[in-house]
């Protein structure tokens, strides 16, 4: 039972990270019907930028642990959002009118470019986050010890997801995003600036992905330039699991995938941990391509 609960908390923590990344995929897919392959690499960039800012500015030393991390997260979000917007301008906007598959190839190219840019700048080796940022006191929950950082990751992710959900549902801009996702042409006729909506989506998605990268750094301490595409693929799996194009779906799918993976690693085999997510992906696309709560993706044979 204790192993189960321990793995459950692990799964929830990593699942909330998957969910944050998955939101970026699902929002871009919702509006542009494009899989943004470079999203995983924006996540990596967030992680590396977080490390650089953390070591060079020493915010946690000056402002205290929590305020420092918060400030750091905001900076990472801002910077990665900027890179995301830049990516959209250079790699995706010129292809708005081209066949969908050209855009997919361009996205793949952008992904390869960003990943190797990170490698050339920071080197191919693993980089290590300083491990004394957060106080090491574990929380005692009914005899189960959970490190503070896991709780923080989970809470922060939930807060951001709630904020995003309210933004999409309640504000005027959120309504515009939903309208553009349903029918771009009609949205344009209703006076919505679709290009601006796409730009906003490419600001929010990468911001969430970037902060997820920071979380991975804080949670596991080790980052690598190739981790973006493993996390990216898993987050994409999460987005499909929940139903792509569907924002609550991405949240549910992410957390579900994290828990499935953690429990699978504990009870089936740790060596096959990475394969579990891909099996879930193939399984869900065969059995229920719409995801748990989503749009139709497969064509009838």
């Amino acid at each position: 039972m204790e192993v189960f609960l321990q793995q459950l908390t692990n799964g929830l923590a990593v699942g909330s990270i998957y969910a944050l990344i998955a939101l970026g995929y699902t929002m871009v897919y919702g509006v542009l019907k494009l899989i943004n392959f470079a999203h995983g690499d924006l996540f990596t960039i967030g992680s590396y930028l977080g490390l650089t800012l953390l070591t060079s500015l020493a915010l946690t030393g000056r402002l205290g642990a929590l305020a420092g991390i918060l400030c750091l997260a905001l900076m990472v979000m801002g910077l990665v959002a900027l890179i995301g917007a830049l990516l959209e301008r250079t790699a995706y906007r010129p292809l708005r009118q081209s066949p969908r598959l050209s855009a997919v190839v361009s996205a793949l190219g952008a992904s390869i470019f960003l990943q190797n840019a990170v490698m050339l700048i920071y080197g191919a080796r693993f980089q290590v986050y300083p491990h004394d940022i957060l106080p090491k006191m574990p929380l005692d929950l009914f005899g189960l010890y959970i490190p503070l950082v896991k709780v923080l990751v989970l809470v922060a992710a939930l807060v951001m997801m709630m904020a995003l959900y309210l933004f999409i549902q309640k504000t005027k801009l959120g309504t515009a995003i939903r309208a553009a996702a349903i029918d771009q042409g009609a949205a344009r006729l209703m006076g919505i600036d679709v290009d601006r909506v796409i730009l906003i989506v490419f600001l929010i998605g990468p911001a969430l992905g970037g902060v997820a990268g920071l979380m991975v750094g804080l949670l596991y301490g080790q980052i690598n330039f190739t981790m973006g595409w493993v996390y990216g693929l898993k987050a994409f799996t999460a987005a499909i699991l929940g139903g792509i194009g569907n924002i609550p779906g991405a949240m549910v799918g992410g957390i579900l995938l994290g828990v499935i993976e953690a429990l699978g690693a504990a009870y089936l085999s740790i060596a096959w941990k990475d394969a579990i997510a891909f099996c879930v992906l193939i399984g869900i696309l065969i059995v229920r391509p719409t995801g748990l709560l989503g749009e139709r993706v497969a064509e009838k044979v």
Binding site: L34, I35, T90, A91, P94, L95, S98, P99, R100, L101, S102, A103, V104, V105, S106, L108, G109, A110, S111, I112, F113, L114, Q115, N116, A117, M119, L120, W229, L233, F236, T237, I240, S269, A271, W272, D274, A275, F278, C279, L281, I282, L285, I286, P289, V297, A298, E299, K300, V301
Partner: protein, 318 residues
């Protein structure tokens, strides 16, 4: 006509004689180009002609290579005799994998094939069935021999690999101009119209997927014989990306384009050794730029030409 034939024959002859003057290192580079050309041509059928995004081609390559390695090291079957068996195992594997996913829309198929490639790699790493040797892979695969002549050094491999590449080119050229090839092009351009014209879309997609995978399996056999050692790291995701990129850069759906792509992908990093680390960066940027300014690649396929329909029978009309 005579001049174009000469323009084709002269470089080919020069190319075939090149091992006589090059040192073994450069001949080996040309051998790698040949292997990538074979792999690229097999993937070209799937990506270029049918428009199915397959980013897990290394999985089929791996199945072929491991089939050859296992059967050769355990039962000592000569490697070249294993060619059909490698094709069969890769083809069956592709059929099992592709049957349930072939109907997925372009980008989803792409993601699923990435997933399949990863599952295969993880399976090989974990020593699945106890026969793949885990991280270390399989060592001690025999060299091939043709009619009793053992093939050992790069110069001999050059003729084996490029001979097989020539067969590949001939085969895929014939296929491209057949009813099968036309059907694939049709369903790539417009699936609904193809279906409406009586093309069994799912059947053709599946057939081309299996054929491409089987051919990659044979390339795997040759790779295993050339290296004599294979391990999972030779079949990583980046291998699939390289095969995919060379098609996109060279010209998808065009045989000269794919061969040019193979030269660019494996040849250029050798020429610019000091920038070797940056080669993927350049390829990535090139993919984006290519999609924006030249969607068809460097050497896009020539549009199909048909004999003039209005011409009277007997004048260029079959």
């Amino acid at each position: 006509m005579k001049r174009t034939l000469l323009m084709f024959i002269a470089p080919t002859a020069l190319f075939l004689l090149s091992p006589l003057v090059l040192n073994p290192y450069w001949v080996d580079v040309l051998n790698n180009v040949g292997l990538y050309a074979i792999l690229g041509l097999s993937l070209n059928l799937i990506v270029g002609h049918a428009g199915l995004f397959n980013l897990g081609h290394a999985a089929f390559y791996a199945v072929g290579a491991y089939t050859a390695a296992v059967l050769n090291t355990r039962f000592h079957v000569p490697v070249l005799w294993l060619l059909p068996l490698c094709a069969l195992s890769s083809g069956i594997f592709a059929a099992v994998i592709a049957r349930p996913i072939i109907h997925l829309r372009g980008d989803y198929l792409c993601i699923v094939t990435i997933g399949v490639g990863e599952i295969v790699r993880i399976a090989l790493l974990n020593n699945v069935f106890g026969i793949t040797g885990g991280v270390n892979g399989i060592v001690g695969i025999d060299r091939p021999s043709v009619f009793g002549i053992a093939i050992r050094n790069p110069h001999e491999f050059f003729y084996l690999i490029w001979g097989f590449a020539a067969i590949t080119v001939f085969f895929f050229h014939r296929l491209e101009n057949s009813r099968f090839g036309r059907a694939l092009n049709y369903l790539r351009e417009d699936e609904v119209a193809a279906e409406g014209s009586g093309i069994n879309v799912a059947h053709y997609k599946l057939a081309c997927f299996i054929l491409g995978a089987a051919w990659a399996g044979m390339a795997g056999d040759i790779f295993a014989a050339k290296m004599t050692v294979i391990s999972p790291e030779s079949f990583s995701f980046w291998e699939s990306v390289l095969m995919f990129t060379l098609i996109i850069l060279g010209g998808s759906g065009s045989i000269p384009g794919v061969i040019l792509g193979a030269f660019l992908i494996t040849g250029l990093p050798e020429v610019f050794r000091e920038f070797a680390n940056a080669r993927l960066l350049v390829f990535g940027a090139a993919m984006v730029v290519m999609m924006i300014f030249r969607t068809g690649g460097i050497l896009p396929p020539r549009p199909r030409t048909y004999p003039d329909i209005d011409a009277p029978v007997g004048e260029g009309r079959p």
